[in-house]
Amino acid sequence: MAAGCRFVAGYPITPSTEVVERIARRFPMMGGIFIQMEDELASMAAVVGASWTGTKSMTVTSGPGFSLMMENIGLAAMMETPCVVVNVQRGGPSTGLPTMVGQADMMQARWGSHGDYSIIALSPCSPQEAFDLTVDAFNLAETYRVPVLMMMDECVGHMTEKVIIPPADQIEVVPRKLTAKPPEEFLPYQLNGGSAPEFARAGDGYRFHTTGLTHDERGYPVMSAECQEQCVRHLIDKIKLNADKIVRFEEEGTDGADVVVVSYGITSRVARMGIELARQRGVKVGALRLVVVWPFPEKRVRELSQDIKAFVVPEINNGQIVLEVERCAAGKAAAILVPHMGGGVHDPNAVCAAIVEAAR
């Protein structure tokens, strides 16, 4: 709401429903509309539709609903529609552990819809960050015209902690980049060197066309390998070429470290204790906490891999982000997974043991 969101479509799913319940209560008093749709396919489609009116839009879900949303997350990526999708992750696959924590949708967030495209994914580790990063999520969605995925987890989603909400005038909000061009000069998908095109909203007389088909700068479908190259390359490049601006992480104690723990979400807080325990045992260990997970901080992981023995990657899944760490480390440093199948968080001793083992 602080970020300017005024349309939310959702479908009830544990453990995310508190978010829409709160929105349903607040929106009628602030000029917003919440609608409970018939399923997550419809929720995501409605979010994309609403965003084309310029109204900032969001949906909230968990694993099974996230799967259904993939279809229209792909549409949002292809149509370059700014929107935010919150996934409060639970244990999977399938119905899995509806009320218990998981972090196993991280690769789905990146690759879940068919075809090549780019998204941005954030991972908050506290209620305060859940607030701050949601504002950032909307701003990133506007800046790059992409779906931004808030990859929460059940623990952070249900956590009670102090949250400071700044006064509205101190919250930076990026408005929709509306075109100033007259309709006859406007091209809805004009390429401009790897950044997002200007936006025309429905109902302003631009009479534009947009489609999920491969399209040219006019938004018209063109079925050719050349147009596919241009269209898809643009979807990927606008994130790739701006990755340095988007990537965000927190780093602590990595100078002179032998081991660096890479973690995100609730696991970053559990890992902190594992790191303390390992330090007590004399291991030089640092921490890299991913705030933005996608795009991945390739450059930093690559740099660190020159100087350390190993990365330790605890995550509540059987190894997803560790694959990315391994790819970037490219054999220069080991990438050691500390898996957890979900339903709870890691035992800090397990993280500590992995760090100690990795430092040998």
Binding site: A42, A46, W52, G74, G203, R207
Partner: protein, 298 residues
Amino acid sequence: MSTELEERKVSPEEHPIAPFIRMDRMPHIWCPTCGIGTVVKCYATALAKSGVDLDKVSIVSGIGCTGRVAGYMKLDGFHATHGRAIPFATGLKLGRPELLVTVFSGDGDLVGIGGNHFIHAARRNMDLLIILVNNFIYGMTGGQNAATTPLTAKSSTMPFGNFERPFNLPYLAASCGATYVARWTSLHIRRMTWSFEEAIQRKGFRFVEVIAPCPTLYARLNKLGDGLDLMRFYHDHAEIRHGADTREVDIGYQDRIVCGKFIDEEHPTYLDLMHEHYHKTLGDRYVPMPPEGGWIRE
């Protein structure tokens, strides 16, 4: 007395509905004697006659032959995912309530894969005009069976004839709460145009089904001739029965097609009900979404 007809070259741009069409996208992909183009012509004519502000008209299609309409009409046009035209349109309408939103798509898209969205939008009386072109088959993908294929008709996935019971769409729409329900064939140009005109002026979930020939697949697989033969069939077998009980308008294979305006009622729309309810329960605390959308102005 004889009159000499003056031969005159007519450019495509002079066509009466050219201003409604993206002429830079012509020729279209539809087969010769396909019925979809006729329905587009009637809708464009109805828009012109209705005098609505075209800048405020959005058109949403899903996937399929009829799904291409949103891309050919010179309106704010959205070519969404398969089956999701109605929820996409719901977002458009709620995101900017002043818009007049038309969903223009096919039977496979709207009541096959999108059936759930269709019934729920009708139940909510969402303010959408739904134009459904029913050609009894999946055309774009090569003639597979649809939720509307009449019993015993052949399709590429029912090569020995269809044994699945099809939907009776006016009955489906009516029973889910549609406020306006009509059916025509693509032969009924004037009546269809008049229905569109009327439906544009109404509020709520308005549903117009248009039976149209698919010469390439439905007609060929069933040896029914070409589009013109099907138009003759419509001429001989369409029965106009305004106000007919929708339970009795189901379509059998090469059977009579009941046409007409079946339902024309006024009921509060989703947004009407929402405003009324929040005004009543929240009083002055209720802040409605502005008609031009809930966006943050700089």
